[in-house]
Symmetry: C2
């Protein structure tokens, strides 16, 4: 059962329930403030494979396998997987998930892919189109650098607005049924799909500026649809705006009379220690928001430190080709509202 609220928001019934989630990440992510919360980390950025693209696939395979394990499920108990990544033709998802042997629906929302995949999975589960569905995404610093920017061997300088693409994959399983034996669980309560926004930003080294207007529009759409405001939530987590984009988002919203500062945080500011780790404006990549969500945020929801979270995945819709052709970078942001609830019938 789901209801459309206002223009762009969907409200779900009692589910869908988060059954299992996991993160597989790299060395720099392990050394960051959330490192101890990840399920698996790798010292070697190749993960023992022949190239970084294949390594990124392996991150997705691992995160998926771990999420299944934690949910106590076999792949055959999933009805479909929604997944995507930054690599051309979503190659990390294709080669990471092919062996699962379950229906595969590739998703592309750039770095908003985790939020998009989770929201689409929630619609499928709530509608009865799937009993259980998984959302997975990933990014890898080395595969992203050579595809979008410069080969690592070139040793190019990075600008202060540049962000560091996370080497990480996050996976989450949604189900029509609550987890067995749990007292407290997390549900997807609402979703708000985002419209693309293009304010003319064309600098591929400043993704935060390209994405902030989209996050602003989606949040304003959502607050209007649901007649809610920032104070109604414990945390508004944007995906990977980083330092530049987070400042811009707060400023853009303030101009509309909406102050999120007290409850806002950003995956791009949480994944690394910006003082200690050389990441300039923060973290980015599909794997950034997925890793933060599927570790710290889900943990805090389950433990009662958070109760009601807006997860706003943010994507910069750019390719090396269009960027070299001088095209601008449209942004998009998809919102998922997660709530911790009591599993007892009727309880919240």
């Amino acid at each position: 059962m789901m209801t459309r609220i206002g223009r762009n928001t969907l409200r779900f019934g009692r589910g869908p329930w988060a059954l299992g989630w996991a993160v597989s990440a790299g060395k720099k992510e392990l050394e960051g403030p959330l490192g101890s919360l990840f399920d698996q980390c790798h010292e070697d950025t190749t993960l023992g494979t022949e190239n970084w693209e294949r390594a990124e696939s392996r991150l997705q395979a691992e995160a998926s396998r771990l999420a299944l394990h934690k949910a106590g499920l076999s792949p055959g108990e999933l009805d479909c997987v929604f997944a995507g990544d930054l690599l051309n033709q979503c190659a990390a998802s294709v080669f990471g998930l092919c062996d699962l042997g379950i229906p595969f629906l590739g998703q592309y929302g750039a770095c908003s892919t985790m939020a998009q995949s989770l929201a689409v999975a929630a619609v499928f589960v709530e509608a009865g189109a799937a009993r259980r569905a998984m959302a997975v995404t990933s990014s890898h610093f080395c595969s992203a650098e050579r595809q979008f920017r410069l080969p690592l061997e070139y040793g190019g300088q990075r600008t202060p607005t540049a962000q560091w693409t996370a080497t990480a994959s996050g996976a989450m399983i949604l189900s029509r049924e609550p987890p067995v034996g749990a007292e407290r669980a997390v549900v997807v309560r609402e979703a708000c799909f985002g419209r693309m926004v293009d304010l003319g930003v064309a600098d591929p080294a400043n993704m935060g500026a390209a994405m902030a207007p989209a996050a602003c529009r989606t949040l304003l759409d959502y607050f209007e649809d649901t007649a809610s405001s920032p104070k109604d939530f414990d945390l508004i987590l944007t995906g990977d705006l980083g330092a530049v984009g987070s400042d811009l988002l707060r400023g853009l919203l303030l101009r509309e009379g909406c102050d999120i500062a007290a409850v806002h945080n950003d995956g791009g500011l949480m994944l690394y220690d910006r003082k200690r780790q050389d990441v300039h404006a923060g973290a980015s990549g599909c794997g950034c928001s997925a890793a933060v969500l599927c570790s710290a945020v889900m943990g805090d929801l389950l433990a009662g430190r958070l109760g009601d979270v807006l997860f706003v995945g943010t994507g910069a819709l750019t390719s090396a080709t269009t960027s070299q052709q001088g095209a601008t970078i449209p942004g998009v942001a998809h919102l998922v509202r997660l709530r911790a609830v009591s599993v007892r019938p009727g309880g919240e």
Copy 2:
């Protein structure tokens, strides 16, 4: 209302209804056997834009605008658009649809993207997550050649197994409500999402061979789920297997005791006249199946020449990077069953 049938098939209720559809295509497509059925065609492959990628975006913008016009809708009456294409980071969809100003959910299924987008849109509409949704996709010969194979200026030889990427975009709008004033209309009756299949084909000049095993698996899954057989349908339309892939599919199915020859056709064999036009094994590309579906097939369904069609989009999940790294090409195929029905309550 939807019901899961067997392992992977979804059956919808009375809808979702096809409200409007359109095709925008290039010169070679205009000169093919279906040329007169397309809504708009272009002599100039750049469509007056500065590059082929932008031209492909314009094809999507046009097909979308025409589908909206034919449905009598404005963009604001759509709740979301599901779209994707072959370009890196789905650039044709991003830049073609940004101006619509409605929620955008990028889809990636390689050349199966039209079937995937249509099926996901059907789930959203049937579940009440969207009152109306659009599925759009495209491909462009020139942008695909330079991205996946060789720059056109190189003048490379093409192998006999190679297919010609269609320069075309197709768009279709699905709605919870039947078209007003129509006696006969087309509904999405069922959908079957495909599993990836990788039999080790690694030749990027033979996509038909990479996709045929996936089409075979999806059709067998569907026939088993629904206890149906090829003779129950007027047409089984695969997306773009071409001559090589179509032969392989029929052979693979025959080995399983399933003979589709009497009702099978393939978008890749329909779009061009292979005797007269130099396209080797036939047409391919996201735009191929979308153009054939949104012209000839929908026309025949409405006119009563067809009643019950299985549309099986076929995708070769490859990128230039993974291909150059020697990776194999997994295939995927998504199935949508389309039926022509009477709009009168209860009628079929």
